[in-house]
């Protein structure tokens, strides 16, 4: 793609034109908010749009965006999406029907009560939408929203924050458990319109609480649209929180997403970031240990082809001692796709007895595919155990021949080996339905 190759040459014009476009859109957005502009959240929105106007979209000259050119995203004047009514039958296939828990459905970024299933809780658990919480002047929103995701320096986060309108909201009070995984479905139905939707999620898990969230991003049509996602997660003391993100957007869409995790004492946070979709998809996932004894496990699987680009930037901040982090990302790249992995681990000066393990392995199925992988360990404490490894390779020739010599054909042999490669990420997923689904995808993709 020409745009990608010339990514370093985003003109200032393009940069400022598109900024002007979003700023103008903000005015319309603000005017349509009616009474809401008196709420505290609106001060944050305004601050964010003012930051946005001062910041510049990154180019390949920015270290954090060296291999990912966003100039294709800046080519389009994306408009705010409209509220669309969909039928249950249209979205059924994106839900795991065996999972009987809460279901939150968002269409073009707006909560759809009619498509959602929300259980009634008498013990203070809240599963719902950000828009509803804003309307009700929720103290949790005022306390947490925008406090973790940096909208002062990150332009996409500033953009998201400025346009904060809706997203998933989950609050689990101390000592409570949401038994069944919550399904959060973001579905785009653009009808050929170039729309932007900016899901804004907030998950707050109290002391000793537990929950699993499955977040899924899909679209009804193969359109060009832009999802700009920000998710803030607060894992309270001794909580156990699992976040599974399935990014299956249209292959001509753009998906920029930031997940910020705040980990309190002895909290246990697990993330799976599974990425199949998008022409350009980027996930920034940052977790910070705010107290001792935390566990953080970041897992990823990206399976891309064509001209897709997938970029992971992770940061695990060992700000406190006695914490363990474990990161395992695997990539399978076909055709001319490109992968970027940047895994940063900071072990701060007093963070003794830290264990940090990181691995990024990639399989390249075609000579046109490319991966840039970079582990980045910054260790300032001395009593720590840290390791990292990155590999980029092809399918093992000896294994291929061995399988073929048993009568297994080329495609099937490939599928078996790819499945095996991905399996140590997939098999650790605790939600059986998701595991099965991913295995099916792997199987279908390579087993023609």
């Amino acid at each position: 793609m020409v745009e990608r190759a010339e990514g370093t040459r985003i003109t200032m014009n393009q940069n400022s034109d598109i900024k002007t476009w979003y700023i103008k859109n903000f005015e319309t957005f603000e005017n349509n908010l009616n009474g809401e502009s008196t709420k505290p959240i609106h001060q944050i929105r305004r601050e964010a749009i003012s930051n946005f106007s001062k910041l510049n979209f990154p180019t390949n000259h920015d270290e954090e965006w060296r291999f990912t050119s966003i100039s294709p995203i800046l080519k389009f004047n994306f408009e705010l999406g409209e509220r669309v009514d969909l039928k249950t039958s249209q979205i059924k296939k994106y839900l795991f029907k065996e999972i009987k828990g809460n279901i939150l459905v968002f269409v073009n970024g707006y909560f759809s009560p009619s498509l959602s299933i929300i259980k009634k809780y008498s013990d203070g658990i809240k599963v719902g939408s950000i828009s509803e919480e804003i309307k009700n002047n929720s103290s949790i929103i005022n306390q947490h929203l925008g406090k973790y995701a940096n909208y002062r320096e990150q332009i996409f986060t500033a953009l998201s924050t400025a346009f904060t309108i809706d997203g998933a909201f989950i609050y689990i009070p101390d000592n409570k458990i949401i038994e069944e995984p919550v399904q959060v479905l973001f579905i785009t139905s653009s009808f050929g319109k170039k729309i932007i939707s900016q899901p804004r999620n907030l998950y707050v898990a109290g002391k000793n609480s537990q929950a699993t969230i499955i977040e899924r991003y899909v679209s009804l049509d193969e359109g060009v649209y832009f999802s700009n996602v920000v998710t803030e997660i607060i894992a309270g003391e001794n909580s156990k929180f699992e976040h599974i993100k399935l990014q299956e957007e249209s292959s001509s869409s753009f998906h920029i997403s930031r997940t910020e995790v705040d980990q309190e004492r002895a909290s246990n946070f697990t993330s799976y970031s599974i990425s199949f979709g998008g022409e350009i998809a980027r996930h920034d996932i940052n977790s910070r240990f705010n107290d001792e004894g935390g566990e953080c496990s970041l897992n990823g699987l990206y399976l891309i082809r064509g001209n897709q680009l997938y970029d992971t930037h992770s940061l695990i901040d060992h700000a406190k001692p006695f914490c363990n982090s474990h990161e395992n990302y695997k990539g399978i790249l076909d055709d001319n796709s490109r992968g970027v992995f940047n895994g940063k681990v900071i072990v701060r000066r007093n963070a003794q007895k830290t264990n940090a393990f990181q691995e990024n392995k990639n399989i390249i199925l075609s000579s046109g595919a490319l991966v840039n992988t970079k582990p980045q360990l910054e260790i300032f404490a001395d009593d720590v155990k840290c390791s990292h490894g990155a590999t980029i390779g092809q399918l093992n020739e000896d294994s291929m021949f061995y399988l073929k010599s048993r009568g297994i054909g080329e495609e099937k042999a490939k599928a078996i080996l790819i499945h095996a490669f991905a399996s140590d990420v997939v098999k650790t997923i605790n939600v059986e339905e998701v595991k099965k689904y991913l295995e099916e995808i792997l199987e279908k993709r390579f087993n023609k």
Partner: protein
């Protein structure tokens, strides 16, 4: 069943097989012996279709078909099985899954019905018993962390499950303890029939006490320099290969 004529093969420009002539009929057992590096494994791998080896001359006909034109998987489907000298470890792929996929792929090629999970397990159980293999190894990843002997036994299990027409066993006996040797030989013998043939590559006459060959061939420097009956194995055990080398140099 198998006829090899004047087969030349090289790897990275280096000629390893320098004119092999060799014929195997159904029902026969052939042993190939020969010093290290003489080309025994190369021959086995060429027959299985390893593409790193380039066949520069000669022909191989298997059951009336030009073997060299077939892909490795089609050779297996036609009924050739190679027990590797160094079985490959494949983490993440279960032994059972490999066997089931392989068997069904072969059956599909032959126009046979696919075995369902139950039918396959029954078949597998029978064969596992035959090679006296530990059930626990079935659910483990293919050869992953297997001991040397377990890997060899696993090759024989695969052979037993896939029931090939022509089995080529490349030093399946090396690294086996006495009991395992007997078991492996037993597996081979049980499979023996008028329609099947076996080629065993070995360094030791000992195996041939269990798997009695109809013919013994000596491969030396890429050529078969001597063929005989099973007594040739004893002769080699006794005299080594030097006398053959000398003889050859005289020719």
């Amino acid at each position: 069943m198998l006829e090899i004529k004047n087969l030349h093969a090289s790897i990275e420009g280096k000629e390893i097989l320098k004119g092999i002539n060799f014929k195997v009929n159904a029902g026969e057992v052939h042993a190939i012996m020969g010093p290290n590096g003489s080309g025994k494994s190369t021959l086995a791998q060429v027959l299985a279709g390893r593409k790193e080896y380039e066949v520069t001359k000669g022909e191989v006909v298997f059951e009336g078909k030009n073997l060299l034109e077939l892909s490795p998987e089609d050779r297996a489907r036609e009924g050739i099985f190679l027990a590797f000298q160094y079985p490959v470890e494949i983490p993440g792929v279960s032994n059972t899954n490999l066997l089931k996929t392989a068997l069904n792929e072969i059956r599909r090629y032959r126009g046979l019905e696919q075995l369902d999970a139950m039918e396959f397990l029954t078949h597998l159980k029978k064969k596992t018993k035959l090679v006296e293999m530990d059930q626990a190894l079935l659910s483990r990843a293919v050869n992953d962390g297997f001991s040397g002997g377990e890997k060899k036994r696993n090759e024989i299990l695969q052979m037993a499950v896939l029931e090939p027409k022509l089995s080529i066993l490349d030093e399946t006996d090396s690294g086996l303890d006495i009991d395992a040797l007997r078991i492996v030989a037993n597996g081979v013998n049980k499979l023996k029939s008028h329609e099947r043939a076996t080629v065993v590559v070995t360094h030791y006459q000992r195996l041939l006490n269990y798997i009695v060959p109809d013919f013994v061939h000596v491969l030396y420097n890429g050529k078969i320099v001597k063929s005989g009956g099973k007594e040739l194995a004893f002769e080699l055990e006794e005299k080594g290969y030097d006398w053959l080398k000398e003889q050859k140099e005289l020719v």
